[in-house]
């Protein structure tokens, strides 16, 4: 027997699949989040330089990573949608955007809360902070573009084109902002070099990152479920479904 994954590009099948996995996904994200916060706030030792203030890392770093990954995922689904012309890809793109914007806002706000005690300022014009702010602007532009177009088909395609066009620009923007201001902290986890953090801190960070992944998936799938219902409101299977829950 072969597993036909293309089946799930059809909205009713996708609806049934995500309805089945959503409860588990929400439970996993809750468990990971609680475990991550307990490890990070209760078990992990204080930092030599930053004292207990460094614990904002468990919120800030996962949120920053998710904000970037979600924009890439949006661009990926935009490309898939434009090439294969599948409505579900556009719906996924649409479902991801609000969570991405929320993650970006959380990353900026928690970064400000970290910056105040460590650098003495809520905001510094550092390359990474500025790029994150630009990313928030791009998310807001995507949301505004979606809200401004009434025809859902055109809104899908317009947002997909904008997502692709802007994702190509993001590296250029980052490069120019870095050129403009090379003043910034080294990355928290440098590749190929042993991270300068204890095992418990690393465990907390891994748990919180996984929690952010699970949460983003659960939230966007929940939103996707509603989008499918909304877009397919006139089809037989949705009428049957809503008739059943009456």
């Amino acid at each position: 027997m072969t597993f036909n994954w293309r089946r799930y590009a059809s909205p009713p099948h996708c609806y049934r699949l995500i309805s089945r996995i959503l409860p588990a996904l929400w439970a996993i994200s809750l468990l990971l989040g609680v475990a991550g916060l307990l490890t990070g706030l209760l078990l992990a030792p204080g930092d030599v330089q930053q004292g207990e203030g460094y614990r904002i890392i468990f919120i800030h770093v996962p949120a920053s990573w998710m904000s970037m990954i979600i924009y890439l995922a949006i661009a990926l689904w935009a490309a898939v949608g434009l090439v294969l012309n599948t409505s579900l890809s556009f719906m996924l793109m649409t479902a991801l955007a609000p969570t991405g914007a929320a993650m970006t806002a959380l990353s900026l706000l928690s970064g400000a809360l970290w910056g105040k005690p460590m650098w003495g300022a809520w905001w510094v014009w550092d390359a990474r902070l500025t790029s994150e702010l630009i990313l928030l602007f791009l998310y807001l532009a995507l949301l505004a573009l979606r809200a401004a177009i009434d025809d859902p088909r055109r809104a899908d395609r317009a947002c997909a084109l904008f997502a692709l066009f802007s994702v190509i620009n993001i590296p250029i923007i980052y490069f120019s902002v870095r050129w403009w201001n090379t003043l910034h902290q080294g990355p928290s986890i440098t590749m190929g070099q042993a991270p300068a953090m204890s095992d418990q801190v690393l465990l907390g960070l891994v748990l919180m990152t996984l929690a952010a992944w699970a949460y983003s998936l659960a939230m966007s799938f929940s939103r996707l479920r509603l989008l499918i219902l909304q877009r397919q409101a006139d089809t037989g299977w949705v009428k049957q479904l809503t008739g059943a829950c009456r």
Binding site: A141, L145, A148, R154, L161, F162, S166, I173, V177, W180
Partner: protein, 223 residues
Amino acid sequence: MNWQQWRTLCLRDIRLAMRRPGETLHVLFFFIMTVTLFPLASSPSATTLQAIGPGVLWVCAVLACLLLLGELLESDWRDGALEALLFMPLNLPLALSAKIVARWLCGALPLVIVSPLLGLQLELPASVLPMLAGTLALGTLALLFIGAPGAALILGTRNGGMLLGLLILPLFLPVLIFGALAVAGAQAGRSVEAELSILLALTLLTVFFSPLATAACLRLACE
């Protein structure tokens, strides 16, 4: 699509703009007025003006380009000329590049020409003024090309003008940074070869790729 057709399209837009000089002058005066606001809002001292001068001129040029882009396709879209263009046996990206170049010649070049005067007003040394005009000339061309897909996306949307700024201002950032850095570097007596090369590279890249994106966005708007 050959050179003759491209020139005809470009000249058509230039002629249309000449017939309605109000629009060109409107953007020009907007540029002059916004630049004038800065000394009034901060301070008229030479040191302040010299420090903020390059940035102010560049930001005002960016805002003026936003105005130009709002009108780039709008009137042609309203009277159906764009849809006619879509059905002509032409290469659509090339045809659009003719429109953008025409818009640059009629709308942005006047800004570039008056920018040295405004530079003098902001107490910039005379030796910097050629650099200012040169980077603005290159930069506004790049800005118009970068913004063109956005201008096509907002056709027929609610609050299109407001949306346009939200969509394309973040994408203007690299050109703004390197343009303003080149002027400020020349002012400080630094070598600005690197900034100029990057500005030129950005311009060439956008001139090449943006008409393709604009054509895709336009096809969507005219479906």
